[in-house]
Each structure stands twice: as structure tokens, then as C-alpha cells.
Amino acid sequence: MSMAAVETKKITLRTADNHEFEVEEAIAMEFSTIKTFFDENPDASEDTIPLPNVTSKCLSAIIEYCKSHLAFRARETSSSIDEQVRTYDEEFVKARDNESLKELILAANYLNIKALLDMLNQAVADRIKNKSVEYVRRFFGLENDYTPEEEAAIRAENEWAFEGVDPDDD
């Protein structure tokens, strides 16, 4: 029994560290930046698209994410599918450290993948919830640029936020 091969169009992407990724058109179209590019340049589909702002580690994670979500969307909506999507998103984020989350956010922002960006932003917000000021500084890579007097003043204004709060575990 012979089966006709399904022709799926592939797009080639080149990352900052010079790796080439071949992805199915459906997945590449999830990246709004790329979709817009092809809408404006319909003849360019054979060319390799350079992504100077995205590393191969990031891109491969992002491709996995888009592939999985496309598969979820193809199935009939139900509460069990919603739960599977939630579990997938949680697992996607759980193992990653703060640095790699930040990298993914920057890549998702550059490639303009709204759903992924929203999910990652929410994951970061969840991580800094109820954490100490030091933790927040470290996460965003910020220096404390307050003078001691300024810091005391800001602290006094926002003292209520530190009242009766359970101690951090960090």
C-alpha cells in the first residue's frame, strides 16, 4: 500500500550562533515577526531567515512550545485539554532558571509570539511574588541606586507592604 507523501512547506531559520533550523511553515507563522515578513515579501519563502537575536537553545525550546500548542489547538476544546495545556506550560517553565526565562522572554518578544510572551511574563510575575527586595534586584539585574536617606523615605512610604508579612524563604 503506497501512501502519498504530504508536502509540508519548510522555512529555514538561522540563529545568532549560526545554527540552521528547518521548521514547518505552520510553526514559523506562529512567529508574528516572520509572518509579517512573508506577508510583505511573498517571494522570499525559499530564503533562510536570519535571527541574530535568538540563540539556538532558545529557538529550539520555542519551536517545541509552538509545535505542542498547535497540536493542542487542533484537538477539540474541552476542560481536559485546557488542563493539559496548563500542565504543559507549567512544566515548560518549571525547570528553567531565571536567566533562561529572561532569554526566552527576549526571544519571544523579538519574534512577537504573543501567547508565549504572556505566559512567560506571568511565570516571572509568579516567581517574584512574595519575594524579598534583594531577590527582585537580582532577578532584574538591578543595582540599588538609592542613597540611604532616599531608601529610608521610600521604605517609610511603603511600610504597609512590609507589615505583618510572613518572612521570606529566600
Partner: protein, 448 residues
């Protein structure tokens, strides 16, 4: 590793659901402090810890008054789209006996308090949520609806909880699409003011709204409605030509009238109703019915032809009620095109009792059925098996059978049940699981 660009940082800060976290971020650096004021929402919740500290003589001097915190947060924000203020659910545990003062420090639907901040931000406000402290609000009637409706011209979502609301001076809010009233005593017996003043509602949630006598929901654009009624209004009427999704839970209304021709997803939980009138459901595909008088309710249901997915359960089935038990055939008479059937433990028990008395009669509709999910209650394993075999015999297109057992069933009996079922119905794909009152169903794949 370069820092995130500021718009992304603001996006992340926007997702901190508690403004307390946002305030703490301000100490991290000047940049973060400045960005925190760009956040478009204020969400402040008074938790039990803060409440207790504000009342204990040793700590009360060190606790900033809740309303003052909120006022400052609002003042410091540049552009607010969404505001949410409330008391945590844990404060519901506080009983009236523990409180003997007339303080109003947490009376959040107080017009005087809301007037201090709402008029300044109402221009850009899209979402407003006030979750009041019942002990301080239940005996004070609030005119806050009048204030909100007179200044919030762009409000799209409004949520009010645990308050006593007057509808005097309520002005039309034509942009409002979502309204949630939870545990509200409402001075609008038949909901006429609500219908008149919120004509553009797409989503309406009325949970535990008291003070209603003959409530009628009459909304042209309503698409989704959740209505739980705990007391006993005389009648319940819903007239909504575009309603697609309805969750209705009531006790014993004398009459229930539904004019919702486009309804496609309906959950109905009602103990008993004397007069149930429905204008034809042409689009209803998904129906969940829970009742303690299934037999009589099924008799009143005249438009079940479109339903494909049906869930049925019997309320109070383990109390020895003297009502007629319903048999499985009744379902197929009323719902001849069902493809997927889910039977709760009460429905299964009743149907099994009927089967034990008179067997299972043939119905053509049984041949359309492809999937059954059933929550079993086993008194006598031979009767249960014989019932299952009958179902397999009559539902000749059945391809999926998912049965859930209660954890208290004897595990050897359960194993025997499983193996005998799979032997009797080898064409069928069998799934097994456990059900328990108050918990979600869990599925297991290999034995129990």
C-alpha cells in the same frame, strides 16, 4: 545578561496580582519605582493577618489603615484601567459574636469612601471589583451603584460582593458588558432596574443574590449567565435571545420560564419545580441536569432532540424520598439523539433500582449512543453486572464505556467487576476510575 526592556518590565509588573508585591518592588531601584507607577491596575486584598493586627492593642498602632493604603496606591498610579479592593475569603470565618464594634474601617462599599478615589480615575477605568467585609456591610445599605453609574462611563466589567445595595439613582451604563453580583442583598425585587440600566451585558453572574421575589432577566445581548439562587423566589424567568451558555442552580421555584432559543450549553440544578416552560431549544447540544425529581422534570422537558452530550444526576438520592424513580428508558424518550451520556451516582442508583424491578426496555435511541460515563454505586454486584450487560446488549454502537467506583468498594469485588465487564464487552474501549463526593473524578488504567 542585558536587562529586559522597560515595556516588558511593566508588563511583568502588571501581572503582579497583589499591589503589595508591587509596592515592595519599589525599593529595588529608582527605575523599578518609576515603572511601578505605570502599572495599570491596583489590586489590594486585606488578609486575616492584617485584620487581626489592626485590632490587637499591641500592634494596631503600627498598622496603616487599609483604606489609607488604597487611597495612596490609587493616587500614585498614572493611568488605571482596573481596580480591585477586597477582603480575603478567610475573613468570612469571623463570626458576629467576635465583633462588637461599629467600626467601618473595612466597609468598602461605603459611598463616602468610594467617593474619595473613584471620580479621579473613572475616565480610564474599565474594570472595578469591590469585595466587601460582610460583618461591616450587611447592616449598612449602600448607594455605591448610583455613584459608579454616574461617573464610570467607560466601565466594562463590574464585580460587587458581600454588600447591601440600593438601586436608587442607578443610571444606565451602556458600556458595561460583564456584571457579577455575589452574596448581595439587592433592593430590586424583579431585577427590572438591573435589566434597564445594564442593557449591553454579555455576561451576568448572580450568585447568592437575595431580596428577589419574581426576578426576570431580560437582556438582548446576553451570551453567558450564571445564576445560583439559594432562597425561594416565586418565579424565575430568563428571556435572552442570544444566550449561549447558562448555569442555573435553584431550589424550588414555583415556575421556571426560559426563552433562550440559542442556548447550546446548559447546566440546570433544581430540586423541584411545579411549572417548567421552555420555548424551543433548537441549538442545545450540551445539557447537565441535576434534580431530586428527575422523573417529573423529564416529563416537563419537551425539546430534547438536539442534545448530543447529556449528564444526569439525582440529588438527595440516598435519602429515602418517596418520589418515583426514573428508568434509563425515560432518558432516551426525551433525548433521542444523545451520543455521549454521563450518569452521576444518584442517577445510576435510581436507574438500577428501576432495572431491578422491570428490566431495561428497548429504545431506538439507544443505538445512537457511543459513549457512557457512569458513577457506580454497588449494592449487589450481580445486579450491577446484569444492568451493565443489558446496557451493552441494547446500545449496539457503544464504543466507549467509562465506569467509576467509590473507594469504599471492596477491591476484590471491584477487580471481579472489571474483568467480567471486559470479557462481556470485548469490542468496547473500557476505562476505569474512582469517584468521591466533593472531589474530582480520577482515572486509573490498570485495575484499582
Amino acid at each position: 545578561m542585558e536587562d529586559l526592556p522597560q515595556p516588558l518590565v511593566v508588563e511583568i509588573l502588571n501581572r503582579l496580582t497583589d499591589s503589595t508585591d508591587l509596592a515592595r518592588c519599589r525599593l529595588a531601584s529608582k527605575t523599578l519605582n518609576s515603572l511601578s507607577h505605570e502599572v495599570r491596575s491596583v489590586n489590594l486584598l486585606c488578609n486575616l493577618s492584617r485584620y487581626l493586627k489592626s485590632r490587637s492593642p499591641e500592634t494596631e498602632a503600627h498598622v496603616t489603615p487599609f483604606k489609607a493604603i488604597f487611597n495612596n496606591l490609587v493616587r500614585e498610579s498614572r493611568c488605571l484601567n482596573s481596580v480591585s479592593i477586597g477582603v480575603d475569603k478567610s475573613l468570612r470565618e469571623i463570626s458576629y459574636d467576635d465583633v462588637d464594634d461599629e467600626s467601618d474601617d473595612l466597609y468598602l462599599s461605603d459611598v463616602g469612601f468610594v467617593k474619595e478615589w473613584l471620580p479621579k480615575i473613572c475616565g480610564d477605568l474599565r474594570k472595578l471589583s469591590i469585595s466587601d467585609f460582610w460583618i461591616q456591610s450587611c447592616w449598612r445599605k449602600s448607594d455605591v451603584l448610583s455613584l459608579i453609574s454616574s461617573c464610570c462611563n467607560n466601565l466594562m466589567e463590574l464585580e460587587l460582593k458581600n454588600a447591601w445595595l440600593s438601586v436608587d439613582g442607578l443610571n444606565p451604563m451602556t458600556r458595561l458588558t460583564n456584571l457579577t453580583l455575589e452574596f448581595i442583598r439587592l433592593e430590586d425585587e424583579d431585577l427590572s432596574k438591573i435589566n434597564d440600566c445594564f442593557p449591553s451585558l454579555r455576561v451576568l453572574n448572580l450568585v447568592g443574590v437575595g431580596g428577589l421575589k419574581d426576578p426576570k432577566i431580560h437582556l438582548l445581548h446576553l451570551k453567558a449567565c450564571l445564576w445560583t439562587v439559594s432562597n425561594a423566589p416565586l418565579s424565575l424567568t430568563i428571556s435572552a435571545p442570544n444566550l449561549v451558555k447558562l448555569r442555573l442552580k435553584c431550589v424550588k421555584p414555583k415556575s421556571l420560564v426560559l426563552d433562550t432559543p440559542l442556548l447550546s450549553d446548559f447546566h440546570l440544578s433544581v430540586e423541584e419545580v411545579y411549572d417548567f416552560r421552555v420555548k424551543e431549544f433548537c441549538n442545545l447540544e450540551n445539557f447537565l441536569l441535576e434534580s431530586s425529581s428527575l422523573c417529573s422534570l423529564l416529563g416537563m422537558f419537551t425539546s430534547g432532540k438536539s442534545i448530543k452530550k447529556l449528564t444526569v444526576d439525582s440529588l438527595k438520592w440516598n435519602e429515602a424520598l418517596e418520589t418515583r424513580k426514573f428508568g434509563l428508558e425515560a432518558l432516551f424518550d426525551v433525548f433521542p439523539n444523545v451520543i455521549s451520556l454521563n450518569l452521576g451516582p444518584g442517577a445510576w442508583s435510581e436507574a438500577e433500582i428501576c432495572f431491578r424491578k422491570g428490566g431495561l426496555k428497548d429504545r431506538n435511541a439507544m443505538k445512537e449512543l457511543t459513549e457512557i460515563v457512569a458513577h457506580l454505586v454497588v449494592y449487589d454486584i450481580e445486579v450491577t453486572l446484569s444492568f451493565i450487560y443489558s446496557i451493552l446488549d441494547k446500545c449496539t454502537n457503544l464504543s466507549d464505556m467509562a465506569l467509576l467506583l467509590h473507594p469504599k468498594e471492596d477491591s476484590r469485588a471491584a477487580s471481579s467487576l472489571i474483568s467480567r465487564c471486559t470479557t462481556y464487552g470485548p469490542r468496547v474501549r473500557w476505562r476505569w476510575g474512582m469517584w468521591k463526593e466533593g472531589s474530582k473524578d480520577t482515572w486509573v488504567f490498570v485495575g484499582i
